[in-house]
Amino acid sequence: MSILVIAEHDNSVLKTFSLNTINAASKIDSDIHVLVAGNKCENVCKEIAAVPLVKKVLQSDSPNYENYLAENLTPLVVKLAGKYTHLIASANTFGKNFMPRVAALLDISQVSDIIKVNGPDNFVRPIYAGNAFATVKSNDKTKCVTIRPTSFDPAPTSGGTATIEKIDSVNIPSVSKFIKREETKSERPELGTARVVISGGRGMKSGENFKLINAIADKLNAAVGASRAAVDAGYISNDHQVGQTGKVVVPDLYIAVGISGAIQHLAGMKESKIIVAINKDGEAPIFSIADYGLEADLFEALPQFLEELNKLNTIQK
């Protein structure tokens, strides 16, 4: 029996989280098939066929799959399910949207957002926004699993020679219609995938003062985040919010500026590789999880920080 990974793409290019998902699937079994459902998605299929971990690519072309509407994609995955032990997708807005539909129609209880594979039916997943880890065993015959992409490395992308098999699409009367997608236009990397994140909290005192953060973000090619307190105070829009009720980030470097470290903020960033805290209150809880803490007035520290960065010959991007 084999595993079916459902790939995320934009019809011309594979989304990188699919590679993390393929790698996670390889911890379960080596016989990995990848479904590419899209519209004229030959190029995506070729990309996946070159991934050495993949044995077979299933290509299903239909205009109905162009915008990966969950209602349209689900019947195809359900039809293929019988041949597989595991159905796997990434636990981002792509996988979260359709996988529970597939699971429900197959009468399977889905295992969401796993961060570790212990065995074919045994997984670890964070609950309570990462404040606890649950080890779970799925007793369903077929497993529907979504993978937290940032917990697995991406699979290598060259050297593979998987076969590409065309399969029929399953077309159903449409109950939903795609209108448009507005991609967030920013010079900076996306918060969820940025290598470096610098966030400001209530200590920033105003939205205007975020220019101090922005200047460093530009220098480090970092995404800009914020605590809920800063968002609630109106300093910055809520799509920057990091925390249990905002975005969960796991960058290589997280810099928390003027953030005390409320539980709900820590839940969104404490898995970061290196954490820096800059705060004038030496007792702030953020220091207890920071690798490097600087007890200082941020209005003095941030300009100095920028100055020191300017002195460096090279900065990783």
Binding site: A70, T93, F94, N97, P100, R101, V102, A103, A104, L105, D107, I108, S109, Q110, S112, D113, I127, Y128, A129, G130, N131, A132, F133, A134, T135, V136, K137, S138, N139, V175, S176, K177, I179, R181, E182, E183, T184, E190, G192, N238, D239, Q244, T245, G246, L253, I263, K270, K273, I274, I275, I289, D291, Y292, G293, L294, E295, E308, L309, L312, Q316
Partner: protein, 249 residues
């Protein structure tokens, strides 16, 4: 138009979660419980539609132990008309909850079902999508804006790339993002009035649906603790550490 809103009682988002020493779960005794945050947005959106004259009735429903009624009562205090409490004494997985909701929906026949996009306890993010699939309805997940038109809803969704707009046919399931609206607080007079609004109670296991759990929770543990870090004395030292020790810049 009739709207059903599903709400869940969870540990309050400001409470520090404590894992039980025996690994069977987290402490819930004497812990503050609240409505799951995005479920408050779901209620708010339904009540707004009622206030604008587009909806006639808002029904709040929850599945859970006796005390879960508090969550329905709170929904009634901010404007829902009546409540349904499906009593269940132990945890039911999203698949089971979706089956229960489907059963109630077949009787209630709402045009829209609102609920939060995810519960902040088990973090599954499944129930809305599962319910939608079981009913064969359309879905608008992670909604940050909705516009009700004739027979359709235009839903703006929070997706990884930014915002996506779709139009979905009614009846539909909409799962709500925190950005959808600003939930109101209940006023004291409305809290008093809510006490008189009816809550119908049904027993989960009597509904004739399979709510058996399929996932065994083997162990719950604390995430690995971060090693205590150091305090640096100057910005220059910080940058030097980041560059030469941590090698992240």
């Amino acid at each position: 138009m009739k709207i059903l809103v599903a709400v869940k009682r969870v540990i309050d988002y400001n409470v520090q979660i404590r894992v039980k020493e025996d690994g069977t779960g987290v402490h819930t005794d004497n812990v503050k419980m609240s409505t799951n945050p995005p479920d408050d947005n779901a209620i708010e959106e339904a009540v707004k539609l009622k206030e604008s004259g587009k909806a006639k009735e808002v029904v709040a429903i929850t599945v859970g132990e006796e005390k879960a009624q508090e969550t329905v009562r709170k929904a009634l205090a901010v404007g829902a008309d009546r409540g349904i409490h499906i009593k269940a004494d132990s945890y039911i997985e999203p698949l089971g909850v979706a089956k229960i909701l489907k059963k109630v929906i077949e009787k209630e026949k709402p045009d829209i079902v609102f609920m939060g996009k995810q519960a902040i306890d088990d973090d599954c993010n499944q129930t809305g999508q599962m319910l939608s699939a079981l009913l064969g309805w359309s879905q608008g997940t992670f909604a940050s804006k909705i516009e009700l038109k004739d027979k359709i809803i235009q839903v703006t969704r929070e997706v990884d790339e930014g915002l996506e707009t779709i139009e979905i046919n009614l009846p539909a399931i909409v799962t709500c993002d925190l950005r959808l609206n600003e939930p109101r607080y209940a006023s004291l007079p409305n809290i008093m009035k809510a006490k008189k609004k009816p809550i119908e109670q049904l027993i989960a296991k009597d509904l004739g649906v399979d709510i058996s759990n399929r996932i065994q929770q083997l162990k719950v543990e604390e995430p690995p603790k971060r090693k205590g870090g150091i305090k640096v004395s100057s910005v220059a030292e910080l940058v030097s550490k980041l560059k030469n020790e941590a090698k992240v810049i």
